[in-house]
Each structure stands twice: as C-alpha cells, then as structure tokens.
Subunit: 354 residues, 2 copies
Amino acid sequence: MTQLKNDTFLRALMRQPTDYTPVWMMRQAGRYLPEYRESRKNAGSFMQLCTSPDFATEVTLQPLDRYPLIDAAILFSDILTVPDAMGLGLYFAEGEGPKFKRTLCEEDVIRNLAVPDMTSLQYVFDAVSQIRRALNGRVPLIGFSGSPWTLATYMVEGKGGTDFLTVKRMAYARPDLLHRILDITATTVTAYLNAQIAAGAQAVMIFDSWGGALAHNAYREFSLQYMEKILAGLKRENEGRIVPRIVFTKGGGLWLEAQAEIGADALGLDWTVDIGEARKRVGDKVALQGNLDPAILLSTPEAIEKEVATILASYGKGNGHVFNLGHGITQWTHPDNAAAMLEAVRKHSVQYHR
Amino acid sequence: MTQLKNDTFLRALMRQPTDYTPVWMMRQAGRYLPEYRESRKNAGSFMQLCTSPDFATEVTLQPLDRYPLIDAAILFSDILTVPDAMGLGLYFAEGEGPKFKRTLCEEDVIRNLAVPDMTSLQYVFDAVSQIRRALNGRVPLIGFSGSPWTLATYMVEGKGGTDFLTVKRMAYARPDLLHRILDITATTVTAYLNAQIAAGAQAVMIFDSWGGALAHNAYREFSLQYMEKILAGLKRENEGRIVPRIVFTKGGGLWLEAQAEIGADALGLDWTVDIGEARKRVGDKVALQGNLDPAILLSTPEAIEKEVATILASYGKGNGHVFNLGHGITQWTHPDNAAAMLEAVRKHSVQYHR
C-alpha cells in the first residue's frame, strides 16, 4: 500500500501530537457541491451513486479536490445498505427520503432474520478499494456503518426521522423481539465494518443518528451495548497500523461518560455540548470529534470564523481533537462558507499544538 | 376564591412536604381521550376548542373527571395564540400542523413588530376564569406560554418541527433582528402570563419545546436569557399564595445547571435525563417535573409500572418531585394505560414521603 502523506487525522484520533487540528465534514461529498449534483444527475439516482464504485469514488474525492485543507475522506455510501442487504428492500421515493418495502413487525419474520452474506455488499467493499487507489495516500479513508439501534428504527418503522413510537412500543412491550433484531444487526455490522477494513478503510465510524431519541436507560440497553459488541469484534490493526474507531450518538451528549467506556478511540459530538466540558468529562479515555452547528455555515465567513475559534479555544491546548460539524453539512451551504470554516480551523488551531 | 382541596402539586413545586408524589400529564386533555375527540368534533376545529372558553373548560376538565388521581389541571390552549395575537395569522392546514400566513423575514416587518394589546387574547383569560370556577378548588390550574425562542422559530420559519435553518441563519448572520423578535416576544409573554395569573392561574409553565435544537452557547443567548427576563417580570403571588413557575426545555438536559439559575421554581425534564442525576446536579435550587417517555404508555400496564417505579426510586426520598411525562401524551395511548401510570405513581411514591 502507498505511504500515507497526511496522517494528521489518524494521529488526532489516537490522541497523538499533531501540528494543527485536523478537519473533515460529515456529508462532505454532498448536494451543496455543484460537482456532486452533476455526478448525481449523471448517475441517475442516489442509489446508483452508492452502488457504483466508479461514481462512489468520483464523489468521495470531490471535496478533497476542491478543499486542500480537508484531512480525511469518507466512503460515499448510505447507512441503509445494511438493512437492504438484510432483505428489507430499500427504495427512495422522490422527495420523501429512504423507505423500506418490508418492515419488521411480525414475530416469525423477526425470528427468521439472518446475517446476510457479505457478497451482497461487495459493491461497497469494491468502492473502498477503488477509493483507496484513487486517494493514493493523500489522506486516510473512513469507513462507516449505522448503529444497530439506528438501523432498527428504519427496519421497524419503515422510514427515518419519525416519532419512533412503533420501535419504542416494541422496546417496552416486546424487548425480546427488538433484542433479536439488534443482535442480528450488530453481527452484520461487525462483518460489514471488518470487510471495509480489509478492503482498505483506515478508520471506522458508527453513526448512531437516532440514539438520542431513547430514554437514558433504554439507550444503554438498546443502543450502547450493541455498539460495544461491534467494537469488540472489529479488527484492531490493518496494514501495520491501528484502525481507530469513532462512535457518534447524535443527541447523546448527556451520556458521554458511558460512551467513553465501550472501546471507541473517539466520540462524535453534536453542537449541544460545550467541547471543553466534554473533554473534562471523558478525560484521556477518548479523542473528541466535532462540533460546529452546520447551520452556522449558512451565515457569513466572519460569523463562521468566530464560532470556529470559540470551539478550538474551548477544547484548548493539546491533542485529541478532530474538528467537524455536529451533523451533516446542509445542501443550502455555499461552498465558499465551507472553505471559510476549513481555513479558520487551520488558522486558529496551530497555536494549540505548539 | 374557593379553598383549594388538593394543593399537593403546588407544595411539591415549592419543595414542601407532601404525602405522595403529585402527577399530571402534558397534553392530558387530548386526542387519546374519546371524550376529547367528541368535543373537538362538536367544536368543529382545534382553534374553536382553544378560542371558546366553554369548550376550553369542557376539555380541560375531562382528564380530571376520568382520572381522580391527577393533581393539576392545565389550561387548554395552544402556544401559538401569542404569535397569532402578534399579527402573524395562525391557521391549521388539515393534517399538517399549525402554520402562519405571514413570517418574519423582512427587516422592516421585524422593526415594526409590537407587543399586542392583551385584549386580543381575552378569550384565553376568560377560559382561565371559567376553568377556575368549574374546578371549584379540586386541584390547581396551570397557565402556560411558549418560550420566546420557541415562538420565534414558528414566526420565522412559518411552521414548527423543521430543521430550524432559517431562524438559525438569522441567529448567526443577523442576531440583531432575532434579538428584536425575542425581546418583543418576551415582553408579550410576560404580560400574557401575568394576565393568566390575574385571571386565576395558580402556577405557570414556559414550554421551550425547541430550545434543544440550539447550540449550547446559542441556547443561553437566544432562549434562556429571555425566559429569565419573563420570570423576573411575573407576579410572584396571587390570592395570598406564591405562583410557582416551571421552565421546560425539551432536549435541554445538558443545561440544567444554567436553567436552575434563572428564577424558576421547577424544571421540566424529558426522558433522556436520569432524574436522580438531575437532582444531584440542581441541588435544592429547584423542584423537578418529569420524566417518563410517553412511548412507554403504548406498551403494557406491567412495563409502565416498572418504569414509573424506576423513576420514583431514582429521584428517591424527599420533596420536590412532580411526576409527569417527558413530553405530551401521544394520541395512540389507550386511556387505561394512562390510568396504569397514575395508579403506579401513587402506589410507589408514598414510601418516599414518609
């Protein structure tokens, strides 16, 4: 494998010294970029972008080509590839977001749920390999998956971002059924991430996008313990180097202490948490990634620079911070405002690494 | 005024001794009750229910008539009566939730925004008086308002539950305009709650339903300081008794320490917080109200009783807890499950008050 030219991101995740605070943006290959919209038009659909290694490689590299200050690439894919491979029939209704043809509600269907053969996800691993070749060592490549709880919300509700009443009813009335789903999903995600690592992913991230909807004790029972199980089953090293793992529960800022105990190297933070307070709470157990409100990128370069400086100052001196947004960049962001953020991170972070 | 027969709720809010933990349910007069659905049909629309003191009185009392274990009534109304009185033109599109005809985006419109005459909200104060007469001292009556930030999200976005990108863009790009809106709204809410108190509200609650969408520092600047301003302007006593104030920021569990400093007597908690930990964090500064996940009421009486007992045990011995849901009861709740919750609170709470 090619020598990595910029390993700042990987070093920060392991809380090793770096010259500045590395940065990437969740959903950095996305609709705010005109070149992405062009690729999507050429591909014909979002699913075509995800399932074609050529297109996935093309869009993964677009933000890196535009912004030389980005320190990591992230595999272009969707968290719902996993339930799709589990047989639920993913589709995208125009203007409605992802949906599933089948949902998990009947007991016998849930009992028959099985870990899918990873060959059904080969297109993802092919994309990882192809992106690694295209990167040619510029920056590390992040692989990822949704958390079992987050994937289960889609599989039980049939869609995302709902009130979660169906899946929560199952959690309280039939916890045995939900645990069955989560258990199979955790085993699947473990195999999925290990295959991404084998194909060349140099760090992995688990997105627990809907963990914050759970009650505090239900979070531990239905989300956190399954992420812990996944981390315990992941290959720790590849190509002679540790593969750092990031866990991000959006809306989970109250539970950082518990998250810091499950074997992650870094925790993602959304914008509701003061990153300096978060650092005090987790101590030297994990690095932290975050946490600018993506809405700020809709304002002005001056306002962006001010908020970036505030976050960097709150984290303070020393290692273990990866700058990022607190959630995905919105499609309404002007690309120049993303550049303003990246420049502000570099400009203001060097002083904290002397 | 008639002597109050059951003041357990008011005493708990002031952290005074009680024989058991009092309980009420957010949105207790609501669609899960067949008698409410009948009233709404008779009224013709949700707005008719809100604007007619007769209908508002009828539905406010329905949960009390059905459930003798409820310790407080809450005015039946909507948080959007205030922006409606401010001239934004509230309407309810069938199946779509509340919307406004006009939104606040133009600078001159915002500069011309004014505190409305309270006579435009007289129907609310008439409802308060009429409900007090109908209650005849059974339990105390809670008045309420939305927080300035929460009302501003509707006034700027035109509707609720969005991604808040428009109002957040204003917060970061033109904070002067948003502060102008929040300032006028806070003055309006102060007058609105004082008029409810004068009409007979025996406690008041500020619902900051969307405060949790803000970044931690933006929450202080755009939501918390305006709630503090309101509390400072509220009449403290009426009818020879203190009028307790409850502040509830949904999704604000990370910021309880700051909330405890603004002059509230009690803080509302959603289900993401462990109430025992919350109690340690706020000390003896405030009482706590919450925090069962309303989704649990969709399960079984056994599961409900177990979770109720867990919350009561977490709070532990002593005063200062008002049991409630962590958010409004859902329309899919079977009325018997609400009864199971109320009975469990009484059954399991007495031991903590000996």
